[in-house]
């Protein structure tokens, strides 16, 4: 993005509202639809688009945004085809939708390094936001987003949809209710990073359809390479925290839920990782860290080479192991008990992550994966990443969100953004 273009957008006044946003329309208005913009139209967004197009009575997708013209135009065509119209805007710069008066909510589906700044701009301009996991890239970004959401009274749902799946609801409630007896530990397994192009790489010409400067945004500048852009960004440490924040965000989130740590977190973390010493992909290829909680329960997160993600709860009565598509246990009785209603601890219930968010946009209630919950889970991912980077045990204060005795670790809670971006 050239300077002139940026400066133009920096002064962007809200476009004249051609369509009244839902918050200005009466509940009985015939066109009382939630107007949504999708920011980032890659593979994660495809699922959201198709789901949202399934709610024509509740949602109208009015804009899609992506720095890749081919992707955004394809998404806009999909939306227009579904609605039988040509009304879906297709824009390059997220500020063209976060500052649009007729947008009620945004879906943030960009690479991780953009989540915070886009969501912040959205909530500051009165939008509710569904933010894909991980909520943010750094701990400081997460706290800033929570603060802004509260200050502006916005609904922010973290895209950890396991919170809206019955088996995870059952498992967390079962553990919280003492179903396993005394809980001994939690073990999260995540798949390995699965991309490799070599220990060196040669920069490539930027495709004419891609705004590479805006794709990079706040992350340090680097030349373009096709293997380091869409999807694979998650294995580049300047952009993301690898599978720790990809799959780990889902399963660590359930651990946090079961530990009743949605507004707190661990008090110490330790671990080590195998980091590639050269090449485009710099996230740990083998992850192994453990968070320690004030109640004495450790939650570990490790790479497994033989399967996908899972969370296992181990207690004095046995263990249960819950994945998105499978469940197992030390005894079938435990799984049967787990799925029974009437537990002593009742957790917030949602059967559908999208509908929960849409309901909360109307009710202004906090969603099942509220921004604070998302921030605390993402912080666990960050703590693991920091502990592996430093290779030493770190004490963590979840109240002040700081490392009490490690100044270097404290500086890793955030980072300065590339110009002209900032967290402020």
């Amino acid at each position: 993005m050239g300077r002139r273009r940026f400066l133009q957008l920096g002064s962007l006044a809200a476009a004249a509202p051609l369509i009244l946003p839902a918050k200005l329309r009466g509940a009985a208005a015939p066109s009382n639809l939630i107007h949504v913009a999708i920011i980032g139209t890659g593979n994660i967004a495809e699922g959201h688009l198709k789901t949202l197009l399934g709610y024509p009575e509740r949602v109208r997708i009015v804009a899609v945004c992506d720095v890749d013209r081919e992707r955004r135009d394809r998404a806009a065509a999909l939306v227009d085809a579904a609605y039988g119209s040509r009304g879906c805007s297709s824009v390059n710069d997220f500020r063209e939708v976060t500052r649009r008066a007729d947008v009620d909510a945004v879906w943030v589906c960009t690479p991780d390094h953009w989540h915070a700044l886009i969501a912040l701009d959205a909530v500051r301009h009165g939008k509710d936001a569904y933010v894909e996991k991980p909520l943010t890239f750094t701990i400081e970004e997460g706290r800033a987003l929570v603060s802004a959401a509260r200050e502006h009274g916005r609904v922010v749902q973290h895209g950890t949809q396991h919170r809206s799946m019955k088996r995870f609801f059952d498992a967390a409630g079962y553990v919280r209710s003492g179903g396993l007896g005394k809980l001994e530990r939690i073990e999260v397994a995540i798949p390995p990073n699965n991309r490799f192009i070599g220990s060196s790489w040669t920069p490539e010409p930027i495709p004419a359809t891609l705004d590479w400067d805006l794709w990079l945004g706040p992350t340090p500048w680097r030349p373009y390479h096709s293997a380091g852009c869409h999807y694979n960004f998650r294995f580049i440490a300047d952009c993301a925290n690898g599978q720790v924040a990809n799959w780990g965000a889902h399963y660590l989130d359930i651990g946090q839920w079961a530990l009743n740590a949605d507004d707190s977190g661990p008090i110490a973390v330790e671990g080590h990782g195998h980091f590639p010493t050269s090449g485009l992909f710099t996230c740990a290829t083998h992850v192994d860290f453990t968070c320690h909680y004030a109640n004495g329960i450790p939650m570990s997160c490790r790479t497994r080479q033989d399967g996908g993600g899972t969370v296992r709860f181990i207690g004095e009565r046995g263990w249960i192991d819950i994945a998105r598509n499978a469940m197992s246990a030390s005894s079938p009785d435990l799984l049967r008990e787990m799925q029974r209603p009437g537990k002593s601890v009742t957790l917030a219930r949602s059967d559908n992550h999208h509908e929960n968010f849409l309901d909360c946009i109307r009710s202004r209630a906090r969603p099942v994966a509220d921004v604070e919950i998302g921030h605390r889970t993402t912080t666990v991912c960050n703590l693991g990443q920091i502990a592996m980077t430093l290779g030493r045990k770190l004490r963590w204060d979840p109240v002040t969100e700081s490392f009490p005795d490690d100044p270097v670790a404290n500086r890793l809670r955030g980072r300065a953004a590339r110009s002209p971006w900032s967290l402020v």
């Binding site: 400066l7 800033a144 220990s199 083998h286 700081s402 270097v408 300065a416």
Partner: protein, 190 residues
């Protein structure tokens, strides 16, 4: 949403122990760092930065500054060294970083470090940068000044927030930064 990941074939995974690396002086090589080139020297220094006890950080900082002063240092090398100073730098790094901040080509690299450095010296260097930077770099600089939440920046931020001659984005950032200085509106200290 679904993240379609299949396990890798073991022979295509780079698993390199943190202790690995060529037996050469990484400090002499780091100045030649290029995007896409051999990153192993940077990895070794990055590990040193992470693993050095507090008592050894001053010596490490001096090594980083010596490398940064090498006239042969590449842009990628400079950026990397500044990113490490962001973690272990002190007031001793401020004069060098302040000079880099004044030049548009190196302003971002310097600011990446200065924003994270504690102390009045780093705060003063960032404020001083306002006299030389314009455009994107200036907007980023105001963001860094705001991110530090330093009460000493209040007067400057107030002036920027109210200056019609400044870019709208600068005025907006300065206004938000002032709000962050009010104790009631802040979260945990950054």
């Amino acid at each position: 949403m679904n993240t379609p990941d299949s396990p890798p074939s073991p022979d295509r995974v780079v698993v390199v122990g943190a202790e690995a690396g060529p037996n050469v002086d990484s400090w002499s090589q780091i100045v030649r760092l290029e995007h896409g080139g051999d990153g192993s020297f940077a990895a070794i220094i990055r590990e040193q930065v992470g693993r050095t006890p507090v008592a050894g950080l001053a010596k490490l900082e001096a090594q980083l500054l010596r490398a940064l002063a090498d006239p042969a240092v590449t842009a990628a090398g400079r950026d990397f060294l500044c990113s490490q100073l962001a973690l272990v730098g002190s007031a001793a790094a401020v004069p060098v970083l302040g000079r880099l901040l004044a030049a548009e080509a190196s302003a971002d690299a310097a600011r990446v470090a200065l924003e994270r450095l504690p102390g009045a010296e780093a705060a003063a260097a960032l404020l001083a940068g306002l006299s030389s930077l314009s455009g994107r770099a200036r907007i980023g600089l105001v963001g860094s000044i705001g991110a530090r939440r330093s009460p000493g920046a209040r007067e400057t931020l107030s002036r920027l927030a109210g200056d019609a001659g400044e870019h709208a984005e600068i005025r907006a950032i300065a206004t938000r930064a002032l709000a962050l200085l009010r104790p009631a509106s802040t979260g945990p200290a950054a």
